[in-house]
Symmetry: D2
Subunit: 356 residues, 4 copies
């Protein structure tokens, strides 16, 4: 029947019962009392509004910010005849595993938080080797660094380019680290994919379907940063573009959204991090450097991010922030990241990491 | 001189050197290189843009999301002639102590996090006594509960009123707890002040100067929740209304701001919590119940709030959320808050609380 | 039956068929093709998403930003069995007339746009008389002016108070004008009501139920400014508080909402003005002074506001903006408002006013 | 000297005195009274805050939402020693002409508003010819239609592709129309440039520097839609990428920004349209279709957009919206656009177009 075709092009959502709840329509049995059903749903953590039909139908509409509840549990509430939902826009993301393996490193799930760090941009061969060596000693597993930089103005420093990619790879290899670096253009995605263990798509390109698809086609895992004003659904759909293109896995990265207040550079949304980790069961990390833009708050929000459920942190480090070619004010020093890394290790076995 | 009068009506901002930085103008010495000064400021964590004058003046403008830096340190940078700033809009808040005492309980600073909990609204005398007794056993020190409820619609349940205030006080007294409850109206502020150890001003009234002033005039400490779209500066200025009115102290409460995404009820801004605690050195707590609206995320964000620097949590609890007269879907059960309280106690001596 | 009671406490929404559409659930007849029904609804301007039930139910969910369509028309679409909706939160607002009469002046509906103007604050008796005389000559029908000013800081100028109310009334009477002025406090609402033909509730108090209710109880019409981050539904519900309290009529005023961009003081939302005027059929005016904060853009957006459907404009005028005690930079001069008034008169019979 | 090099890499901003004001620092002469200078600046429409220096310097900071004022006028205020500003991030945009010529058609400046219309996506050869013929008869000068569609989900209809480009060009040529169509990818930008008189960059790609640059390199004029949460400065900088890449001209298009209210699909910001047209003197058009998403409000906001200063409208039209492959609910019919076109013609000589 057409209705099935229409709704099931991408597979059978009802078989994927682990898919988290979002909006729902709850249809009542005849004669059921909508007030009582609403109360029962409230008991389960669902915000439900009664809808009354012109010709007698009565439903409850369950809002998006309700808690996640097993569907069978909802169907078992007295007075509930059926629940219906829209098809998922991101079925591949829905069934992706909670963690991703990079050789011996596991990112996501119950694994210990992973540190990714490095300079905003790769500035010279010597500098990136020095940085990699010191970060490796601290326990940082992914070396980050921009070869291409997304900038608001075409006249700002745009990154060193392909040479920087090579230096980054060599510095990582010399220190047994993995590489995460940003791709800015379809034209250079293949050279990025050659050196990157994890290809970063920045927030400015989260809605750029062509680049997301191209990143997926490289066959590399992709780190998808949330767009400046992207909803969680749009963010997950950006990941879907990568998986549909061919990426083996997607890691999500919250880096702050746009706000009306300028006391922090962006507004870090840790609620969405908890949602992705604990409800969607997806690997999600946090970039507190861009999220806050303030070196003095980065350690505090790094801990908060882990407590909320982040499986890793992506942090800008610079040995001499006053000499950084970009984003110096938000770069932390080796001493600061070392102190943070020690704290995270110390707390690793404790409740803040075992919040699952 | 007029210029002094103009700027110093509220006291001498320069004497209050502990006041955190916000925007600043940095004037250069003659012949200084703005690029080098900018780099030096970046090294300190300051985002500075050069401004070039038509008649030769050169300044750097330091943005609001810069890190907090001792002013003498900035003045000591080579090439810096002077730094200038606007007068504070909230001089009394600037000099308030980092913690507030309520008898034997200390809220803020290095004190252990304080739990405030109770039902969204006080529904009956028996119920609030039962709730208080169980919460006290868990270690909750403040009993919360609404006698008056701010509601979007005039037809929603508006709270039980003055009887509820009495029940709340008696239930708290019977269990050696303190009372925090919301005042909604100038007309009833005195009856609220009679029972409350801490008068709550809700987010809907954060811009209501008449009520803030009236709350201050009662002589009670005031809990100021952040408005739905209030900047940090406006939030602090709301506290200033209370202190100017006569309040002995203000405690700030982040409860989520309005967002474009509806997967959480509001958007919890933990960056602003870290800012108030670690930079402004003010007592600040978090209400994860309204911040998220999702029972399933409240424990995770409660831990994150403490890690970010919150000195307490304000949480909605209901023994039977399916029978709550309001906000049932976001109420947690006794079991859930007990588990959270245990975690917080266990972690109390650890790094997540000693983030200062 | 309980279900009816539950949903119909405030009257029978189904009898008020002129109430505009918002979200809806469309239930399909058995065997109907959801794709075809969705296309037919798209043809009517409705954004509908299919929801598929676990136990066979199929519905379409109609989104809030759909066009307004007669319900009988929707019910007549082939395959539609029923449509259901939540009860209105503002039934009195829904049935309020499109225009309000103030003596010989009609505000709203097809009436010519009404100008309301005056200084941000009433500064002296002489000054307000001078202003009133000149504005009356230009064709301004409502004299505005603040006796009490809502200010972010308690140390900013708070208005002259009760004397200013008297001066305002006398100046209006002397020039055959009406008075619109803001009430900030329950304590002074009666003195405001004594002089005001239209009581203004400012954006900072739009969520202040106690004040909205008190304004309603005075028996005066109320001007409800939209809150800084208020949804249209919340704005209408604020009006409902006034009507439920006893106000004979409510006029809505868009004055800009909070935004992330600071090139205008606020973000003027003319889409919501068109929505209130053309879909909800309510009297709505625009305050371009606060909406933009820029004198150079006020004339352009004033025309745009009228074109969008505003039934009036509320504009800050000052004979000498450089001497204004508050908001001088956004005050326009007599010459500027005269020029605007002439344009509006010239265009009054033309299409931009006959957009209904 | 380095300071000059540092600030003047892109030319001498001070020679471009027509560049509109944004933030400024006003340095006072020794002994000047900051209160008096502030009042004088308020008289000019400038919001200025006094900054007091630790070592005696006094400045006023002029905020971004101030009116545009000739710099010589500011410098002539008694007590003003100098004004300083940051270098422009978009010097080529600053000096672009107010209007762009496309053969006999002029877009921008004092020229009559230009209509651009067509279907959301080009669906078939016959259909686009039919649409073009009817739109040409109505007076529409640009035929729009998507060959490539940016979609949130990779499973949504992505457009017909290169065939659609050819059909679009042929349909336009057959009716003496120009073509505006969107480029989504660096890979297909050259085929888009072959058929387009104006290359559209959509809001999802406004921050995609690689695509903006590629569009510029084609040598075609570029239509830059504002990003969902882009500031005006970022929007202008996106235009700068195109001009720096080689585009002969840029036209800006406001299409609504993201909001917390869902009664309209997006939030149309006509204040920014007035700013670009009347202050920046740039060609700017409005897309009310995406801005509102509601067919019933499009005519009203189209008129408002022209009144605010838009030099054109970009509107989605479909002969049978119920058969549209995308965005049917917001497509207007031929009858509706004909009626709108007639109104605009009738009003063309009137004040709403002579708003300069």
């Amino acid at each position: 029947m057409y209705s099935c075709l229409f709704l099931r092009i991408l597979g059978a959502p009802w078989e994927a019962d682990t898919r988290p709840n979002d909006v729902m329509i709850v249809t009542l049995t005849e004669g059921a009392d909508p007030g009582l059903v609403r109360d029962a749903l409230a008991g389960l953590g669902l915000w439900a509004s009664p809808f009354e039909g012109r010709r007698g139908s009565v439903q409850l509409f369950v809002h998006s910010h309700s808690g996640d509840v097993n569907r069978e549990r909802i169907l078992s509430v007295a007075g509930v005849a059926d629940i219906s939902e829209p098809a998922s826009r991101h079925p591949r993301v829905d069934v992706q595993a909670a963690s991703v393996r990079f050789g011996e490193i596991e990112l996501g799930g119950e694994a210990a938080p992973v540190l990714m760090a490095g300079p905003c941009s790769v500035e010279s061969e010597e500098r990136i080797h020095e940085v990699a060596e010191r970060l490796a000693a601290i326990g940082v597993r992914f070396l980050r660094g921009g070869a291409y930089k997304p900038r608001t103005s075409p006249y700002d420093f745009q990154g060193v380019g392909t040479d920087a990619l090579r230096w980054l790879r060599e510095a990582a290899d010399a220190n047994d680290m993995l590489v995460v670096t940003e791709a800015l253009s379809e034209a250079s995605i293949d050279s990025v994919a050659e050196v990157a263990d994890l290809i970063q798509i920045g927030s400015r390109n989260m809605h750029n379907g062509a680049l997301l698809d191209a990143a997926g086609r490289t066959g590399r895992p992709v780190l998808v940063k949330r767009g400046m004003a992207a909803t969680v659904e749009e963010w997950l759909s950006a990941g879907e573009y990568c998986l549909a293109g061919g990426a083996p896995a997607v890691v999500f990265c919250e880096r702050g959204i746009r706000s009306f207040d300028d006391r922090t550079r962006n507004l870090l949304d840790l609620g969405s991090v908890a949602l992705l980790r604990h409800v969607h069961q997806l690997p999600v990390i946090v970039d507190p450097s861009h999220g806050l833009g303030r070196r003095d708050l980065i350690p505090h929000l790094s801990r908060a991010a882990i407590a909320a459920g982040a499986s890793g942190l992506l942090i800008e480090v610079h040995p001499e922030p006053e000499r950084a070619l970009s984003d110096g004010p938000q770069a932390v020093t080796f001493e600061e990241i070392d102190s943070l890394a020690r704290d995270l290790r110390a707390e690793a076995p404790s409740a803040i990491f075992a919040t699952g």
